[in-house]
Symmetry: C2
Subunit: 325 residues, 2 copies
């Protein structure tokens, strides 16, 4: 089954409402300043899966489903996500992301930093529209976690003395925190009872972890055309992810990743690292780790009523494991 | 009279309370992640005049002076200001700011972008502590204005087809908007009556304009040691400010700024631009413009009661004109 076909109906009872989130995102591009409009159109037009907005809306389905509050929250979260991608592009100096020229490659570094700031500002403005102080504080704390996670990644670049625990902590801040906030925020806006808020937050966190582990696997297995970036791009940027960490654990001596990080025979060491990861059972083991997170996400849903939104959340957890790009 | 001596007592009835803002800013540096702590210590330790926090506190003196709400607001505004300086440093690639090595010169570009993001996040968290949705939205809108102002500056770099009107619009977004928000936000937190909120906001806006015009004058007249940056540094980065715009207006033909922007005899054209600005009455005229804004700031205070906080606001307006760094 093709991923887009499945994704089309994946969000169940909130599928149609995602269009309202899209409309809010589109409205941001209508600014009076043409240069800014062009840049926003470029960075917001990429058309993602909107998985984070879907989580926020689905969590909001467990009590008072008020789209006038949930749509700004969902759009805010997607915008925050896009803003971090924009700043990541400056950081990585990445030439392409998902097959499109990055904002940074098209515009000057300077302007890109500022467009990211503008998007953060707009995300803050959107979340303020919820009128919910607890949700606004959650949003700010999430941004702090994400920035710290990115800093940790940057600080640990080209260092192989990292454990898989460091990796989990890093992706927890970088990715899972925003998934958690989407689910927790939606639940809070809907006024869901505390036990369910915690259940949905735990689902979001574990789903985010599974999502990022699969992302890091796809960086080694994916098709360059489908992924829009070269195979092994994380390693190329000095970022160790689960597969490369497992490779270092298994072959502590004469390891190609270590050689690559030390700058010895770089092209050959990189090629060999990718080959060893792809030909071993490391990717299987990585999928097992992602599967564990998926299972924990599903288990977290236990206290929730057996209804359509819960079914959709379960489907999303399975889709995260199956996706190919 | 020396500026620091005057500044010491300048903030009148809120002078002592500025220390609580400092304490809040210091507390931000106590993070568990040592690399981040080092960077925050560097960027927050520079010890500014804290003029924006003082405005917020003084505006808060016109009714319910609640430091538990005003201090987070004031700290948030100072932090937002510092975060924009950090991102500006990435943008300008500036080697020094106020005589200290910039964060960007000491740390990698990447980390600097993320430290700025972390500071924005913390600023958002602080403003959320006020529990005042209108103030939170004001804060987000200000960040948008500032980002747009910076973008405009970046887009117009090395272009001399700008009017002084463009300049005013640019510094309005870049500088005056945060002064306005400091005054308006403080007034809103204190629950000051609407007419006074508008009076304080108008004071803040005009003060911010005067402040930036004087800043741009000092870039040409200041002592390199005192200012911590070379004379003519704005022009060097391709930024036209009021003095250079007036020079272009007066000498449309054979103008050294135009030659400099066109890349002809750069060193000599820059030297000549600075010399012509310093030796003409352009700086006097620029001071007249700043003085007009100062007068409008003072006039805006008319509806307010004649009390200690109002006296302090009047003193600040005079000090902004007299300062030498």
């Amino acid at each position: 089954m093709s991923t887009p076909a499945k994704a089309a109906g994946l969000y169940g009872p909130v599928q149609a409402d995602i269009e309202r989130v899209e409309e809010t995102l589109r409205s941001l591009k209508r600014v009076e300043f043409p240069a800014l409009a062009r840049m926003l159109d470029h960075v917001l037009g990429a058309g993602g899966k909107r998985i984070r907005p879907a989580l926020a809306l689905l969590a909001g389905k467990f009590d008072r489903y008020d789209l006038d509050l949930l749509v700004p929250l969902a759009a805010s979260i997607e915008l925050l996500h896009s803003a971090t991608l924009v700043h990541d592009d400056v950081i990585d100096g990445a030439a392409t992301r998902r097959g499109r020229a990055t904002a940074n490659a098209l515009f000057a570094n300077a302007a890109t930093v500022m467009v990211g700031d503008y998007m953060f500002a707009h995300a803050a403005e959107l979340v303020a529209r919820t009128g919910n102080i607890a949700v606004i504080r959650l949003f700010a704390q999430t941004l702090m976690s994400m920035a710290t996670g990115e800093l940790r990644q940057d600080m640990s670049a080209y260092s192989y003395s990292q454990s898989t625990l460091d990796y989990f902590s890093r992706i927890g801040g970088k990715t899972a925190s925003l998934f958690t906030t989407a689910a927790r925020g939606g639940a809070m806006i809907a006024g869901v009872r505390d036990e369910w808020v915690e259940a949905l937050a735990s689902y979001g966190e574990n789903l985010g972890m599974a999502f990022q582990v699969v992302d890091d696997i796809l960086d080694f297995t994916g098709d360059e055309a489908e992924m829009g970036k070269p195979v092994g791009s994380d390693l190329m940027q000095g970022t160790l992810t689960l597969p490369s960490l497992l490779l270092i654990e298994r072959y502590p001596v004469n390891n190609p990743v270590k050689r690559f990080f030390a700058g010895r025979q770089r092209a050959e060491s990189l090629r060999r690292s990718i080959e060893m990861i792809r030909e071993s059972d490391i990717l299987e083991e990585s999928y097992r780790v992602a599967g564990d997170f998926r299972d924990r996400a599903l288990a977290a849903l236990a206290p929730l009523p057996d209804n359509e939104p819960r079914d959709a959340l379960m489907d999303i957890a399975d889709w995260v494991m199956e996706r190919r790009s």
